[in-house]
Symmetry: C2
Subunit: 172 residues, 2 copies
C-alpha cells in the first residue's frame, strides 16, 4: 500500500509539532532552573541575518498549516504573527497542531495531483506530491530544526530523544 | 496516485544531498574570500556537547544511505568515518548520493511493509512507512539542517534559495 498525502503530512506534523511543544517546555524549565527569564530566548538567533526563535517557530507552524490547507483546499486559520512571549509561542504551536488534526483524511483525496499556486512565483504552482516533498517538508524541517539549534546553542538540554518521539515498534 | 517509497526517498535525498554539496562549495569559496583555511570549519559546532560539522555531514549521509539500503534490502557501501577535510567530506556526500541513485525503483517494491530492525532496540523494528516518515526523515533533516546552521553561524552566506533548489513548476 503506497503512502497517501494524509499519511505523509498529518502524522508527521503531529509528531514534530508535538516535539516542538516539548522543546519549549524544556526551555522554560531550564530558564527557571538557571534563574533567567525564558523570554530572553524569544529573540535569540544563530546569525544576525537569520530569523530569531520567534520567527522560526512561526515559520514552522505556518509551513505545517499551509501544507495541509493548500493540498486539501481547506481555509487555514489566520495568525497575526504578534507573539512576543513563550506562552504565546506555545499557543501558536497548539493552534497549528489543532488545525492540522482537524482536517479529515477524506479531504486529502486527490491531493497528490492538486496544483498548488506558489505566491512567490506568480503564474506558477507545484503538483501536490512535489509541493509536499520538494518544498514544504524541507521548509518545515528547516525552521523546526533551527528552533532546536537555537535552544541547544543557548544551553537548553535537548537530545535525539526529543527529536524522534513516536515510532510504532513491532517485534522482529 | 499515492506516493511510493521510492518517490518519497530517492528524489528527496538527491535534492538534499545535492544542496549539501552546494553548501560545502559555498563554504570553501567564502573561506577563500576571507582568507582562512576552510578546514577550520570541520570541527565547528553549535554547542560543546553536539556533533561537529564533520559528524553532522557523516550522519546526514548515513541516514540517507541506510534508509535506502534497509527499505530495499540492498547492502550499503561501508564508510570508515575517517574524513578530516572538506574534500573528504565532499567525497562522502558524493558516495552517499551515488549509492542512493544506484538503487533501482523496482527494488522498492513492498518497501512500505518491510520490517526494518532497529539496532538500538534489540528485538524491535519499524514497518517501512513509519521507519521512513517517523524516524529516518526527521533524523536526516536534523543532521542536514545542523550542517547549514553551523555554516551560517560561521558566516557562510547561505539562504533559503540554497535549501529548496528543485521544485517542478507547472503553470496555474
Amino acid at each position: 500500500m503506497p503512502t497517501s498525502m494524509y499519511d505523509l503530512t498529518v502524522p508527521l506534523f503531529r509528531h514534530m509539532l508535538g516535539n516542538l511543544q516539548g522543546w519549549l517546555d524544556k526551555a522554560k524549565a531550564e530558564a527557571e532552573r538557571k534563574g533567567y527569564p525564558v523570554d530572553n530566548l524569544v529573540t535569540a538567533r544563530l546569525a544576525p541575518d537569520q530569523y530569531d526563535l520567534r520567527k522560526q517557530v512561526q515559520a514552522a507552524c505556518d509551513t505545517a498549516k499551509f501544507t495541509v490547507a493548500r493540498v486539501t483546499g481547506t481555509p487555514p486559520p489566520v495568525h497575526a504573527d504578534t507573539e512576543q512571549t513563550f506562552p504565546e509561542l506555545a499557543a501558536r504551536v497548539a493552534s497549528a497542531l489543532a488545525f492540522v488534526e482537524s482536517v479529515p483524511e477524506s479531504a486529502f483525496e486527490g491531493a497528490e495531483e492538486r496544483v498548488v499556486p506558489l505566491p512567490f512565483r506568480p503564474g506558477k504552482g507545484a503538483v501536490g506530491r512535489s509541493y509536499v516533498r520538494d518544498l514544504q517538508l524541507p521548509n518545515f524541517f528547516f525552521h523546526l530544526n533551527h528552533v532546536y539549534a537555537i535552544l541547544r546553542h543557548n544551553g537548553v538540554p535537548l537530545g535525539k530523544s526529543d527529536v524522534i518521539t513516536r515510532v510504532d515498534l513491532v517485534d522482529v
